[in-house]
Symmetry: C2
Subunit: 362 residues, 2 copies
């Protein structure tokens, strides 16, 4: 088992990474009599809910569960309300604990519910997708979507533990594994050139779910993210770097309607756009861009804008990005592979040109 | 103008109290170009919105507005969503500011929206009911109701300023003024015996809205609450004292359906129940209980359980109270007039007896 700590100003919490942790009562910060509400969905429940409940009962917890419909399009205020109703029907008070069992959607909704139920109850993350394991379960961002924009409603709220059972990835559809690799590659590109090189060597093993390399890789990504979050919990500054490709990516997701392209796929194409824009600005060279493109392609990820989406289509969504300040777009761009920065005065024609370079013409 | 500061761990914010502050640009922590979303309702808008917008425009702010339907029964997730939609339609980002113009309902919903829109934007309170001026606008509790419980969903989120224009009370229905006085009397009862005596002398002037005494009284209440909040922002302990009468009161409000009894009215009856229970426990004497009853009655407030509501009807609601820990009811009771404490092991039969003493039999 690997362990990474996330150090916050007032406390820290552990991330445990290993095979079979779902069944290991020792990694849960819980005791007999604790009231637990497991939040999951039918897809994940089918594989892992029985197992989790058995472990919790072994500890002596009182366990209730609520299943949300599966999918990004249910990452809504309505799903949030299903959780509140379940908590209230169970007569759960401020001493209850929510456990999120699932991917980033479940983690984000359940975390937001935990932060707002009776103004805040305890929360444990058990991420079961690669994306959630390397990214969304760490760092305390929680959110739901609004029909006018993704992740527009939410809170910063930290779990008291993250439990990553890497065995769960075996049932995850390949396309979802690859989408998670987009965020993995992102870490290399923005902050860690030697990790980027490590990925160039081992990406095929990761695609094939080799457990040893997977665990190393997940722990490394969690460590990178935990360090960034420790330095900048509420995204005043450096934490924004984690959003490489995301401003473009969110535009893609919103334009296509949630759930058509996976988040990681949109981030992959968006990262290419950021890289090409960095090249236009003279910071990356052709070879850097080609290396990123190749790495993404080896993980079977898209490196182009979706068919039929025009460069101009991106702008309205991009201008609604949370990083926009005083009407100024703020993009995450690359000085070099392994070094990102926040660009504040990028001219829109250049942004459009970068998107155009990543648009396939027939 | 009177001023009270609320000192938090990381920052402080001012409460300004005076006549005509709505029109005084100097009390607003805003500058030209700031994007403002005013949240109010049609009742309050009719009297004060034009005036507020004129002041904001004089400062040079960009102003949008959203009107929620009036009433406690609209203190819901749906109203919250109306605010989010308005913010997104206006393309407002993280640098926007929400101003709550109205009573406690508007303040609580708008504050919760501010805390969760893009994970938190700036927020100014302009309370226009007495209850909001002495209580709900100070201290950073925000919430919406759920059909299974009042204030069940919310956040701790502090405004950057509270602006109290005492002139606004002139248009407030008398019944609402009196409801506000229930919270005023509460402060005397829980923490400040000499203020309780001051109220016994001046309650008639307050009922008559004498501006000088009103301002003194509001500033004093804000000061009491601000000090408690400074010592215990997230209600780990002492802050719970402010809930005298509220566990009983919430049961009344929920049982009758929101909006039949006013919050302050329910708190008045609930405070009597707490006082009678304190007498049963041997802490108050008959004279103390009679003084509290008389003071509440002079403010035209109910001191009895609503017609037809039985003592047993209270329990299911009371057990769902946010102060319940590990299934144990925690009630705010009085050691003496001016000194409250958190009672943790009160036996249910005694609780029922206290409610029965406050139940009118025909
Ligand atoms: N909070 C953050 O910091 C953060 C960071 C990145 C992404 N996110 C959010 O995360 C979400 C995307 O997360 P995701 O990619 O995990 O998507 P997801 O939660 O929708 O999961 C993808 C699919 O895999 C299924 N699934 C999950 N685990 C499985 C398993 N072990 N076996 C079989 N099927 C399984 C799910 O039911 C779902 O159908 C987005 O909403 C995004 O906004 C949040
Ligand atoms: N956040 C907290 O700490 C806290 C504390 C106490 C109460 N509360 C909440 O506050 C709410 C009650 O607040 P309230 O008593 O202000 O009720 P309210 O907001 O419903 O206002 C009462 C009525 O007066 C109207 N009104 C407001 N100002 C007016 C004015 N100046 N002139 C004419 N009409 C006016 C309103 O439109 C409404 O119809 C409850 O929801 C309660 O839970 C919150
Ligand atoms: Zn992402
Ligand atoms: Zn109250």
């Amino acid at each position: 088992m690997l362990n990474v700590n996330v150090e916050l100003k007032e406390r820290f919490y552990p991330i445990h990474i290993g095979e079979g942790l779902l069944s290991n009562p020792n990694v849960y910060p819980l005791k007999a009599g604790d009231k637990i509400m497991v939040v999951t969905n039918p897809t994940v429940a089918k594989y892992y809910l029985t197992n989790l409940i058995a472990t919790l009962q072994q500890i002596g917890c009182i366990v209730e569960q609520v299943l949300l419909p599966d999918g990004e399009k249910y990452k809504t205020i309505e799903s949030l309300n299903l959780i509140f109703t379940a908590l209230l029907k169970a007569n759960y008070g401020r001493d209850a604990t929510i456990i999120a069992l699932g991917g980033g959607v479940i983690g984000d909704v359940a975390g937001f519910a935990a932060s707002t139920y009776q103004r805040g109850i305890r929360f444990i993350q058990i991420p079961t997708t690669l994306l959630a394991q390397v990214d969304s379960s760490v760092g305390g961002k929680t959110a739901v979507n609004h029909e006018l924009g993704k992740n527009m409603i939410g809170a910063f709220y930290q779990p008291c533990a993250v439990i990553i059972d890497t065995q769960t990835l075996k049932t995850l559809p390949k396309r979802e594994v690859n989408a998670g690799l987009a965020e993995v590659i992102k870490y290399g590109a923005i902050l860690d050139y030697s990790f980027f090189e490590w990925l160039e060597k081992h990406i095929d093993l990761l695609v094939a779910l080799d457990q040893k390399h997977l665990q190393q890789c997940i722990a490394h990504c969690c460590k990178i993210k935990a360090d960034v979050v420790a330095r900048d919990e509420t995204e005043k500054n450096e934490r924004a770097l984690l959003n490489l490709g995301h401003t473009f990516g969110h535009a893609i997701e919103t334009h296509l309607g949630y759930g058509n392209w996976l988040h990681g796929e949109a981030v992959a194409a968006g990262s290419m756009m950021a890289a090409v824009l960095s090249k236009i600005l003279g910071d990356l060279d052709d070879n850097d861009v080609a290396r990123l493109e190749k790495l993404l392609a080896r993980a079977n990820l898209p490196t182009y804008s979706p068919d039929g989406m025009q460069p101009e289509d991106y702008l309205p969504y991009m201008m609604r990005d949370k990083k926009v300040l005083s009407g100024q777009l703020r993009l995450i761009l690359l000085k070099s592979l392994g070094q990102a920065y926040i660009a504040t005065e990028t001219e829109l024609p250049l942004v459009l040109e970068a998107i155009r370079c990543c648009t396939q013409t027939d």
